[in-house]
Amino acid sequence: MTPKLTVNGKELTLEISPGETLLEALRGLGLKSVKKSCETGNCGACTVLLDGRPVASCITLALQADGRSVVTVEGLAGNPRLVALQESFVEAGAPQCGYCTPGMLLTAFALLGANAAPTREEIREAISGNICRCSGYVKVVDAISDAAEKIRGLGYGANH
């Protein structure tokens, strides 16, 4: 089948078999920030934004994304909200081993788009589907909280 997917802003017509997951299709396109891990939707390493919302690409079939917009961290390079998050992650030492980081960043990106000033509790709730294998969530929460403050300082609205 040949679904049309908008991947990081570009409309692509792909050759997809019914059993192919969105994770497999995206990694096949060279988007290696999308990590393959639990393959049951439990861990969040494969998180992408589907029509702006974080979803698990490992349990989404590529055909389910037909006509929809898919965004990975590659597609947000240079975006002020993502850059602020990336800087805060580095400053806080939040990536640790780094495997969960792309998923964490996308979840945080969506959170800050909907809520410019989340509480620590709201951040913890938002990232509860992104499991950190190094089991260190404190620095991740610090980083997201810090990035939110920076972004508010920049005066960007929710759409940036």
Binding site: P18, G41, L50, V55, I59, L61, Q64, T107, A126, G129
Partner: protein, 283 residues
């Protein structure tokens, strides 16, 4: 790569039923995919995509709320559901993770009632109805559909219709799992009406546990009706509810442990429902 051979997109509910019928036992509906994609057995070769049916949304209909089957669980975490259906809001918040809630739909969460589904248990206690497509459209209560052994073959859930809360009525949900993402080891929901003089009016207790369909513990509810609700009656009701359930043992929990959890979860939900309905059981 999953093993599915065909992915068919349904345009209308009738279309979905026809596609599913034509493919027979090899077919499964797919909406969010959080169950179908990771868990479908090798015998499922055909997926009928119902996510594009025009069924999503939450609508106020007088004193009732209608929820479309393809509404994402995340979309139930709204101000109107929080005020109109607090136990539904609570059950959704306790269900899976935000990522899964962005994908999973209301219809899908109900279809897997036996897991047990948090949504099925809370809506059973609240006396909700389902609008389903069989060979034609039908409205049936969750209670009656469970009595029939739940969904069969090509049955398609289209909408859930549930009454909003009102003064003197409490409804609450309680769940126990090892971690937040876990499917419940035991969940329970209670809907309770307060009658004259602090007596128990209508009482509906629903319990879900370990791969069996949710149960409405009817006799226990009936037994309590007309009695003045006290802390000790509450404990007695929870004990009787646990006594009427025979949970299975598996690697996640023993039957005895689940039985104990039923008592605790029913007591918690009942306490909360009673507080909402106007009882003050601490004094």
């Amino acid at each position: 790569m999953k093993h599915f051979q065909q992915f068919l997109v349904a345009e209308t509910p009738q279309d979905a039923v026809d596609l599913r019928k034509a493919a027979g036992t090899k077919a499964l509906y797919i909406a969010g995919g959080t169950m179908a994609v990771p868990l479908a057995t090798k015998s499922v070769e055909v997926l009928v995509d119902i996510s594009r049916l025009d069924l999503a949304g939450v609508a106020m209909e007088g004193d009732k709320i209608a929820i479309g089957a393809t509404t994402r669980l995340a979309d139930l975490l709204s101000a109107e559901v929080r005020t109109g259906l607090p136990p539904v809001y609570d059950a959704v918040r306790k269900c899976a993770t935000p990522i899964i809630r962005n994908m999973a739909t209301v219809g899908g969460a109900l279809a897997v009632a036996h897991l047990p589904s948090d949504l099925a248990v809370v809506l059973l206690a609240m006396g909700a109805d389902l609008e389903i497509m069989r060979d034609e459209k039908a409205v049936i209560s969750i209670e009656d559909l469970l009595a029939q052994g739940w969904l069969k073959g090509h049955d398609l859930i289209c909408r859930v219709i549930v009454s909003k809360g009102r003064p003197g009525r409490g409804a609450s949900f309680a769940k126990f799992g090892r971690s937040a993402i876990d499917i419940a080891l035991v969940n329970a929901a209670v809907a309770l009406d307060r009658a004259e003089g602090g007596r128990v009016g209508r009482l509906r207790i629903a319990v879900g546990q370990s791969y069996s369909l949710p149960v409405l513990v009817k006799a226990v509810g009936k037994e309590a009706e007309g009695k003045v609700l006290t802390r000790s009656l509450l404990e007695e009701i929870a004990r009787s509810a646990a006594g009427s359930i025979k949970p299975k043992s598996d690697f996640r929990a023993s039957s005895e442990y689940r039985k104990h959890l039923v008592e605790v979860m029913v007591a918690r939900a009942l306490y909360e429902a009673a507080t909402q309905a106007g009882w003050k059981l601490d004094t």
